[in-house]
């Protein structure tokens, strides 16, 4: 009877955004335990191959807002 509730809403999974300290390339990957914003991690830059990257952000990517979703909800001009 309650099976429809058991699963619950899916929990949003954040992405980790990394910036290469050599060339400044920004790339992202799913969040891993131990990540935190401003941490310097030893991961290979996909562009220049440098070994040092800085985490510049951890957040949940949002889908692009649909135009004219609702007339009531305020939108950016």
């Amino acid at each position: 009877m309650f099976s429809q509730f058991r699963a619950g809403k899916p929990v949003p999974k954040p992405m980790t955004y990394l910036k290469c300290l050599e060339c400044g390339t920004i790339n992202s990957r799913p969040f891993k335990d131990g990540d935190y914003v401003f941490k310097i991690v030893e991961e290979k830059c996909p562009k220049c191959g440098s070994n040092k990257m800085k985490i510049i952000g951890i957040y949940v990517k949002e889908p692009q807002k649909k135009q004219a979703q609702s007339r009531i909800v305020s939108r950016r001009a």
């Binding site: 509730f5 914003v37 401003f38 951890i58 949002e62 909800v73």
Partner: protein, 386 residues
């Protein structure tokens, strides 16, 4: 035959038709009995309503219980990873879930803020020490985040117990007014419960949450500046730097473990040493948006932008009034759910906007040679120190 007979019976009853057969007489009698029930037993409809509401509440309560159990199980599993063998983590966790704080008596309100502060701090410290004692293998930062996780589980557990209390009370006393009130509140309560559920994931993994945006903005403000960083109060750090000829103090809770720190204590210490050179206090915090408003919108106002029990807010207001320093506030809109669940993109992007606006405010309101305090308020989980 059945349906047709009923309809025919009703029609004949209404029209007082002369030739009534057996079925129509029975139907008429049933109608009369029903009418008598409603006449002689006026609360009958209320009883029916009570039954419906109780069934609806029971369904939601079962859902709440499932969520409570899920959050407790996740917390238990996480704590066990950091506990020594031989510790009965389940029992210790249940003790923590039932832990409480008694608010001070306010019959005579004089000095009640400091009593509240004393009690709340003792409770927080005891709670944290208890978690640390269970998870002896966790480092300092992890232990702080685990304390937050247990706090989320405690909130979820309390919510469930309160709803269950009113459900059972309404059922026991057959009081429709009690269950009606719960029914009115339950949609919001379910939303809060869902937020707790998602928050437990965030704290389990140490991910930044929406509430951390104030700290994030403060960290970004001083990210590439040369600065002196030191601990000024419990779990609270300050970055001392200069910005376009002004002395800048940036106050925030220490990360990346989950903590909100004691910004008021830090602020008072800076004011003591800086005296009248401080010309502005700027506070950045997440703020509750109204339904229909955009998440991540940055708004500007005046006052102490800080939540919690009110102790920190009181102390900051008192100090700023005493020295006649204006309090400027930047608030980043979000819902109560968004504040305790993993940070959304629009909130993270708002931090960059706040940094620019804070810089503009400093140059326009504080003259060169004077000092300004910027306080990033919020939970630092997942946000390191720059």
């Amino acid at each position: 035959m059945g349906l047709f007979g009923d309809v025919a019976g009703m029609l004949s009853f209404l029209q007082f038709a002369p030739q009534q057969d057996l079925i129509s007489i029975v139907t008429s009698l049933i109608w009369i009995v029903f009418m008598m029930i409603f006449l002689l037993y006026p609360t009958f409809s209320q009883r029916l309503q009570l039954g419906y509401i109780l069934r609806d509440l029971e369904r939601r309560l079962n859902r709440l219980k499932a969520m409570r159990d899920e959050v407790r199980a996740r917390t238990l599993e996480t704590l066990k990873k950091y506990a020594e063998k031989g510790v009965d983590v389940g029992r210790e966790l249940d003790n923590l879930l039932l832990s409480f704080m008694i608010e001070p008596e306010s019959m005579d309100p004089y000095g009640v803020v400091y009593k509240l502060e004393h009690i709340a701090r003792s409770w927080e410290d005891t709670f944290e020490e208890h978690v640390k004692a269970i998870c002896s293998k966790a480092d300092r930062e992890r232990a702080k985040t685990l304390t937050n996780l247990v706090d989320v589980a405690r909130g979820m557990d309390y919510l469930y117990r309160v709803v269950r209390h009113y459900y059972l009370l309404g059922k026991k006393t057959s009081n429709v007014y009690i269950v009606l009130q719960v029914q009115m509140l339950i949609p919001q309560l379910m939303e809060i419960a869902e937020a707790y559920r998602q928050a437990s994931y965030a704290f389990m993994h140490g991910q930044p949450i929406g509430d951390g945006v104030g700290v994030l903005a403060a960290a970004k403000l001083v990210e590439n500046m040369e600065k002196k960083t030191y601990e000024i109060a419990k779990d609270t750090i300050v970055h001392e730097t200069s910005f376009e000829g002004r002395k800048l103090f940036v106050l925030r809770a220490a990360g990346p473990g989950g903590a909100v720190g004691r910004p008021a204590d830090g602020l008072l210490k800076i004011l003591e040493s800086e005296g009248d050179r401080v010309k502005a206090i700027i506070m950045i915090d997440a703020g509750l948006k109204l339904e229909g408003e955009e998440t991540g919108k940055v708004v500007e106002g005046i006052g102490a932008a800080i939540g919690g029990l009110g102790v920190e807010k009181f102390k900051i207001e008192e100090a700023s009034k005493k020295r006649n320093i204006p309090l400027y506030a930047f608030v980043i809109y979000q819902s109560i759910g968004e504040a305790i669940t993993p940070m959304k993109e629009s909130i993270a992007k708002a931090a960059d906007e706040v940094v620019e606006r804070v810089k503009k405010l400093i140059t326009s309101k504080v003259e060169e040679g004077f000092s300004v305090i910027v306080a990033g308020i919020g939970n630092t989980v997942g946000i390191g120190v720059t």
